[in-house]
């Protein structure tokens, strides 16, 4: 019998020591166990693939072409009944021959020969489209995919901007404290005291319309929430022993902030990013509806909703339903994914579920 254990024990000198799983590996393991989380992650990934396909031109490139009759109904509903042709009854039978008094009669043959030399394309507008057509006859399916690209891109980019600003400012404020911390606190108070609609309108006035403008507007209006949380985390961590030890071995302040503390705080930032994506997508929809969002030559879910309001009275419901359905699926999936992400990254928050 040997008094020594047979399996290798983790020790400094032993090359076959067991590595304990890192934070991210543990989170991924927890994430895999959450069925709802995996399903929502798959749905979000599918949408992101669709966004990439649309942005690179594979899908919905010709969303602006008017391929259908105006307000074409969706295919499963069948074509719209033909409108009444008018009260005057069309006479049947051949027309009266007027060639003896018609001054243009000799020219007809020559004109027809000249015209037949040109190729004309007879554009047949489709009677029905897969998800219906809008009032100009554009395909709603293409529009909704392109709109998804714009709306989701705006939401994600704005959330990234807000998170970067909030994290950097929160890190500086939480780590240094003192005068600069007070100044940043004052800035935070000013930003949260101004009503958010005024802030958003003010930025809309500054930046104008367009995708990049909306990203800047939402990002600059949304950083205070993240700033608060990151600052609290940095204040907590900057007095911990591992940071003190890093200082003792000579790590610079920048290195301590972003190489040592930030990875331990990144789960908070990640969850806040996801939450803000959802809220910014909804804000973009409202901004576009008010006309402060994307330009007129672009389509987003908000512009589609603004069109659908007038269509609904006439009885054309397909644009409204398509946008609502797609947006509901994506936002729900993203929200559930955020919940699962939060549970996977920080199990201490579980139990509030």
């Amino acid at each position: 019998m040997s008094a020594v254990m047979s399996s290798p024990t983790p020790s400094a000198g032993n090359p076959k020591a067991q590595k304990s799983e890192g934070v991210w590996a543990a989170s991924w393991r927890r994430m895999k166990a959450d069925k709802v989380g995996m399903v929502s992650m798959a749905i979000v990934a599918f949408f992101l693939l669709m966004v990439i396909a649309s942005a690179s031109g594979l899908l919905a490139k010709n969303w602006q072409k008017e391929v259908g009759v105006p307000n074409a109904p969706p295919t499963f509903m069948g074509p719209a009944p033909a409108e009444a042709t008018g009260v005057i009854a069309q006479p049947k039978g051949p027309n009266v021959d007027l060639s003896d008094i018609d001054p243009l009669a000799p020219k007809y043959k020559e004109w027809e020969e000249r015209a037949s030399k040109f190729k004309t394309e007879d554009v047949v507008k489709a009677e029905t489209l897969p998800l219906g057509g809008d009032r100009l006859g554009r395909d709603v399916l293409a529009k909704v995919i392109k709109g998804a690209e714009v709306s989701i891109l705006v939401g994600v980019l704005a959330a990234v901007v807000a998170t970067i600003i909030g994290t950097v400012l929160g890190a500086i404020s939480g780590f240094f404290g003192g005068k600069i911390g007070d100044f940043l606190e004052w800035l935070y108070n000013v930003f949260t005291a101004i009503p958010s609609i005024l802030l958003i309108f003010a930025f809309a006035v500054i930046f104008g319309k367009g995708v990049l403008s909306v990203v800047m507007i939402l990002g600059l209006a949304g950083w205070p929430g993240i700033y608060r949380l990151i600052r609290a985390e940095f204040m907590k961590h900057s007095v911990r022993e591992y940071v003190r030890s890093a200082e003792a071995i000579g790590a610079s302040r920048y290195s301590r902030m972003f190489k040592h503390i930030l990875p331990n705080v990144s789960h908070v930032a990640l969850v806040q990013l996801s939450l803000h994506v959802v809220s910014f997508i909804k804000s973009e929809v409202i901004l576009s509806y008010l006309g402060l969002g994307v330009g007129v030559d672009q389509v987003s879910w908000g512009t589609m909703l603004s069109e659908s309001q007038s269509e609904l009275i006439l009885g054309y419901w397909w644009q409204l339903v398509s946008v609502t359905a797609l947006m509901a699926v994506f936002v729900t999936a993203f929200a559930l994914f955020t919940d699962a992400l939060r549970d996977a990254l920080d199990p201490k928050l579980r139990g509030l579920e």
């Binding site: 101004i194 609609i197 003010a202 929809v285 409202i286 609502t324 509901a328 929200a335 559930l336 509030l352």
Partner: protein
């Protein structure tokens, strides 16, 4: 307590100053030129310059800022540049409309969300709980616009229960005829996130030791929930209400635009579009001040609700 109150009031001043500076410079350098907007499309440059002189826009920047600060301190908000209506009058006439819609919304939201959340928290973990949570996530994911459009279409256009838009001078007519549809739409939108949030608060309380003790001592679940959990969860709920309170005074500009309600939110949209500085600045100060006062009152109320709280 008096010292704490004084200190908090004193601390508001730098923030208010910051708000004034931010709003002033934002609109000065980036906003449209109000003289041009007021002059209209056919104004000649002399006319525009005359308007600018009259509004005091040709004075140096610090002088304009100083005039503005003097106005705030003496509560003289001046007149709107677009309509020449005194700003105080503007607020006084628009605020009741906003409040007629927003106050019932807040009251209904809270009084419906608390029992819902309590009921869901009582059956936590069960299928009902998860279904309700998923349903409220889906409900939240649908934009407010869709609720308004569909609400107007179904209840006003098709069923004819309410008018599509409009407002009157009589508070009673407003409350019974014109306000119900926007209130209904807004409550339907907000009830899901409030229920989710309050459910989190209740679950947090239920997880505490004293609930387990009470159960061990033989109390019914109902008494525990209604007498103990509800009271202790009121602090976060109160915080949540106080955060929403300044919003009540701002009004939902979307609701006001859709339903043609002459409220504050719509005024702000109009004022920003017209670069109407007095209205914009008065509004910013008013809301900033209100937010800080509401925060202060909430903190004081904490002390009343939970005597263990120490106000620093």
């Amino acid at each position: 307590m008096a010292a704490y109150l004084l200190r908090r009031l004193w601390q508001m001043i730098p923030t208010l100053l910051g708000v004034v500076l931010l709003v002033f410079f934002l609109f000065k350098y980036f906003g449209g030129d109000p003289a041009e907007i007021m002059g209209g499309l056919n104004a000649s440059p002399e006319q525009i310059n005359a308007i600018r002189e009259q509004l005091g826009l040709n004075k140096p920047v610090w002088e304009q800022l100083w005039i503005f600060i003097k106005q705030i301190v003496t509560f003289d908000w001046g007149k709107s540049w677009a309509t020449n209506e005194s700003v105080a009058n503007l607020f006084a006439s628009r605020l009741p409309a906003t409040l007629t819609v927003m106050l019932p919304i807040l009251i209904l939201e809270v009084s419906l969300a608390i029992p819902f959340a309590l009921a869901v928290a009582a059956v936590r973990g069960s299928l009902t709980d998860r279904t309700v949570m998923i349903l409220s996530t889906v409900a939240v994911s649908i934009s407010l616009l869709v609720y308004v459009i569909v609400g107007q279409y179904v209840f006003a256009f098709r069923l004819g229960w309410f008018p599509v838009q409009g407002w009157t001078d009589s508070v009673w007519t407003n409350l019974t005829t014109y306000a119900p549809l926007p209130i209904m739409v807004a409550v339907a939108v907000a009830i899901a996130p409030y229920t989710r949030l309050y459910r989190t608060f209740f679950l947090d309380e239920i997880g505490h030791d004293y609930v387990r003790t009470a159960r061990a001592k033989g109390m019914t679940e109902r008494t525990i929930l209604l007498k103990h959990v509800l009271r202790n969860a009121m602090i976060p709920i109160m915080t949540n209400i106080s955060v929403a309170l300044p919003g009540v005074f701002v009004g939902s500009f979307l609701l006001e635009v859709f339903f043609s309600i002459p409220g504050l939110g719509r005024e702000i949209l109009l004022a920003v579009n017209r670069s109407d500085y007095p209205v914009i600045q008065a509004f910013a100060i008013y809301i900033a001040f209100l937010t800080m006062v509401v925060n202060l009152i909430t903190d004081v109320l904490y002390k009343l609700v939970d005597p263990r709280v120490v106000l620093k």
